[in-house]
Amino acid sequence: MAGRPKTILSRIAQALPVVVGVVIVTFLLTRALPGDPAVYFAGPSADQNSIAEVRAALGLDKPLPEQFILYVGQLLHGDLGQSISTGQPVAVELARRLPASLELTLLALLLSCSVAVPLGVLAATRPGSWVDHLCRVLVTAGVSLPTFFTGLALIYLFYYLLGLAPTPIGRLDFLYLEPERVTGFFLIDAALAGDWETWLGALRQIILPAITLGLFTLAPISRITRASMLQALSSDYVRTARAAGLTGRTVVYRYAFQNALLPVLTTLGMVFSFSLGANVLVEKVFAWPGIGSYAVDALVVSDYAAVQGFVLAMALLFVALNLAIDIAYTLVDPRIGFEKR
């Protein structure tokens, strides 16, 4: 199937201008941010002279194009610069924080899918029934909740009032040790280490933010599942299957569901990158040490390097994700690579 590698290569080629675009836009955007990093760097009670010194030291006195070339040059060396607010190299910060965000997002999606997909299938098999309406109300309510509000409400209910949830202070209560870092995903690392107590501790920390985020992604997933299931169920091949005596479960899962999976997959990709963005507020509320909260803090203090690094990382992630989706698509759908444009 020579079509597939070609399809994937062309996707990568398409992604390149996007990355370039992101680099440019990010650079311009961060330069347009208010606030003067030189002033920030110079610290309290610094005067005009020391600020000017710092500005020159940071290269901020150079014209914009020159700064951009400098920046791109650093990028190509893998140097994302140093964050003002945390004082760490941005690359190190991102590497440390990205797994936290990914773990949260992935778990949220996993939770969301495990609810939304069956809901969507259920609704599609009984369109117009009360189950259908109920599903719609539920998922719509989910997507209508502002994540920051859901997060606060959940914390209030489960932590302050009921005392069921642990303190929302990040990935692990400080009574536990961080598991040996293998993947950076605490749940996986703890499981690999066989340390189930830490695993449980990490799970307890992650569950509320994951639910908060997951609630928000229920709607798109279940909507698309329902729609594509409905379409698949009314398709000719399902009728053929039924006419050949195949029974409910085979028809629904092997025939309809597998076909319905394709649009779901696409949506999932979009939802994933979207929730990585939506993470920002959830991470803020739950003090989650991910890249979202990092970006918010960085933006507020006009931390150029951090913002640039964050956006770039996200863009690359987005591109990689789309690529992964495309590859997944080719695995599920044999037609890929054969389509005419």
């Binding site: 009728r239 053929t240 006419a243 005596g245 195949l246 085979t250 092997r254 597998q258 037609r335």
Partner: protein
């Protein structure tokens, strides 16, 4: 005793406009080894009847009344589990549009396996072998390789074979074929139907053939039942029905079916026949197509869709452009229509080369009004958000030089001309029937009184009785307005009714062209001959007997 017995079947659908009775009091029976054809136009309830007896009605459909007995089993009251056992093992079904009827992302072999496993006809160990056997049984060559194919990798005819293999894999006793050839090319149609007939004969199956095509029904069935708007109109031996239709509807249907030796006026009921206008073909060529070539650039290199095609159309002449799908006839007509720029060649219209003006700018060209098109799919060709009036008035507003009031009058005049009642003018396309939409499309095309009208399969989506009316309308209009027609179609019988000359295309090239009678009567090319032979031959009035079909050739 009949294998299948349907008594007073009534099926209704819940819709937003209330309950619709799709089938009303239909009684039918199929004997062992017998093939029954159910014939009817769209909306006649013929497919619903078969779905009802398989109990696979779409959502909202219910069997309201009646008895369905298959080999002693009460199908209406059978449990869902029991029905699932019967489907595929006792009664099987094949569908129209075979490619859509197969799961697009599952290997065809696996789909057959699913059925075999379901009915216990194979075990996990031998399922593949069994599936390949089933495929071989429907004359699929290299079944072992095709087992791994996905539907999109197979041709339409091959897909239909797979569907048939799937249907027959578990040796059912009754086969229901629901428009099995719709969506296939003429030659493939014949191959598939011959295969089905052969398999039926070979296995001694009972069969129900559901079709809108009287010719097909006559050629491949023992007995014919005619349905109309949910009711059984007439039933009888195939030959009998065609020779001596009793019910007026059957008579109309039989008459409207285009067939050898019948003129366009004869398609209409006798009371509606008016004398055919005499042909007045001019001597000057209106359109000359010279060495027209179109090459498309694709990922796999250039593809020549049209290769050096030349023909001409004289004033007031009708020329038929015939060929199977992919032969380049649509590309050719699109180039003549100036919707597409040719790669090379000339399109001389009234002596001027139209190809010199790029298609992009032709919209505003004054000659635009001279060349108009009637689309294949009237539904698709009408803007769903525009009323019939607006659609007809659009060309007048763009290219005509009439003020608002004159335009309005003109639209009404046109509506009358094409036989569209004035009160329908303010309706939207979805509120019109197929025939009405076709009329709107025609009215729009002739609004500017073009010199050349290209008819792109204008009746392909219509029922036969309506097709008869529309064809006659086109004949009348041509006589009245003195237009030339380029009639693009895959159906030689229809083309013959309207055209003075015929151009046959295949693989982007002209295979044969000449006067209609000559091409139809004494085709010079083998291809034309095979096209003619492939078309199911409806009994032309008298003798219509079911000849044993020739043995199907493996594809």
């Amino acid at each position: 005793m009949a294998l299948l017995d349907i008594r007073d079947l009534a099926v209704s659908f819940r819709t937003r406009r209330g309950t619709v009775e799709a089938v009303r009091g239909v009684s039918l029976s199929v004997a062992r080894g017998e093939t029954l054809a159910i014939v009817g136009e769209s909306g006649s309830g013929k497919s619903v009847t078969s779905y009802a007896l398989m109990r696979i009605l779409d959502a909202g459909g219910t069997i309201k009344a009646g008895e369905l007995t298959y080999g002693g089993v009460d199908l209406r009251r059978a449990g869902e589990r029991e029905m699932a056992d019967i489907r595929g093992r006792e009664i099987s079904m094949i569908f129209q549009n075979p490619r859509a009827a197969l799961n697009p992302i599952r290997k065809v072999g696996r789909q057959i396996e699913d059925v075999l496993l379901r009915h216990g006809r194979a075990t996990r160990l031998n399922a593949r072998a069994r599936a390949i056997e089933a495929m071989e049984a429907v004359r699929i060559r290299e079944a072992g390789r095709r087992y791994h194919a996905y539907p999109f990798e197979l041709s339409g005819g091959m897909c239909q074979r797979v569907v048939i293999a799937l249907a027959l894999a578990c040796d059912p006793k009754l086969l229901i074929a629901d428009e099995p050839t719709t969506g296939l090319d003429v030659t493939t149609q014949k191959a598939v139907m011959d295969l089905v007939a052969e398999l039926i004969a070979e296995r001694g199956l009972s069969a129900i053939l559901i079709t809108h095509d009287l010719g097909l029904a006559a050629a491949y069935s023992d007995r014919v039942a005619v349905m109309r708007r949910g009711e059984l109109v007439e039933e009888g031996a195939a030959a009998e029905i065609f020779a001596r239709p009793q019910h007026p509807y059957t008579q109309k249907l039989v008459a409207a079916t285009p067939r050898q030796g019948v003129g366009v006026r004869e398609l209409l009921p006798p009371e509606a026949r008016t004398p055919a206008p005499p042909p007045r073909i001019g001597s000057r060529p209106l359109l000359e197509v010279v060495n027209l070539t179109k090459t498309f650039e694709t990922g796999d290199g250039p593809v020549q869709a049209v290769k050096r095609v030349s023909f001409e159309i004289r004033q007031s002449e009708s020329v038929g452009l015939v060929g199977e799908s992919g032969c380049g006839k649509s590309t050719t007509s699109a180039m003549i229509m100036r919707l597409l720029d040719p790669t090379s060649g000339a399109i001389l219209f009234d002596g001027q080369d139209l190809a010199e003006t790029p298609a992009r700018r032709f919209a505003r060209d004054p000659r635009r009004a001279q060349l108009q098109l009637v689309f294949q799919d009237a539904t698709d060709s009408l803007n769903p958000r525009w009323s019939a009036r607006a659609s007809i008035a659009d060309p007048l507003a763009r290219l005509g030089r009439l003020d608002r009031r004159a335009r309005r009058a003109c639209v009404e005049e046109l509506a009358e001309l094409v036989g569209l009642p004035g009160e329908l003018l303010d309706r939207f396309p979805h509120q019109l029937s197929g025939g009405q939409k076709a009329r709107v499309g025609i009215a729009r095309a002739i609004a500017l009184e073009p010199k050349l009208l290209i008819l792109d399969e204008p009746t392909a989506a219509l029922d036969v009785s309506i097709q008869a009316v529309v064809l006659n309308l086109l004949v009348d209009l041509k006589a009245r307005l003195g237009m030339s027609y380029l009639f693009v179609s895959h159906d030689l019988q229809v083309v013959r009714l309207l055209c003075d000359r015929i151009v046959v295309m295949r693989g982007g090239e002209v295979v044969e062209q000449g006067p209609a009678e000559q091409v139809m009567g004494a085709p010079a090319s083998d291809y034309t001959r095979s096209l003619l032979e492939a078309a199911p031959r409806p009994p032309s009035g008298e003798a219509g007997s079911r000849g044993l079909p020739p043995r199907a050739v493996p594809l």
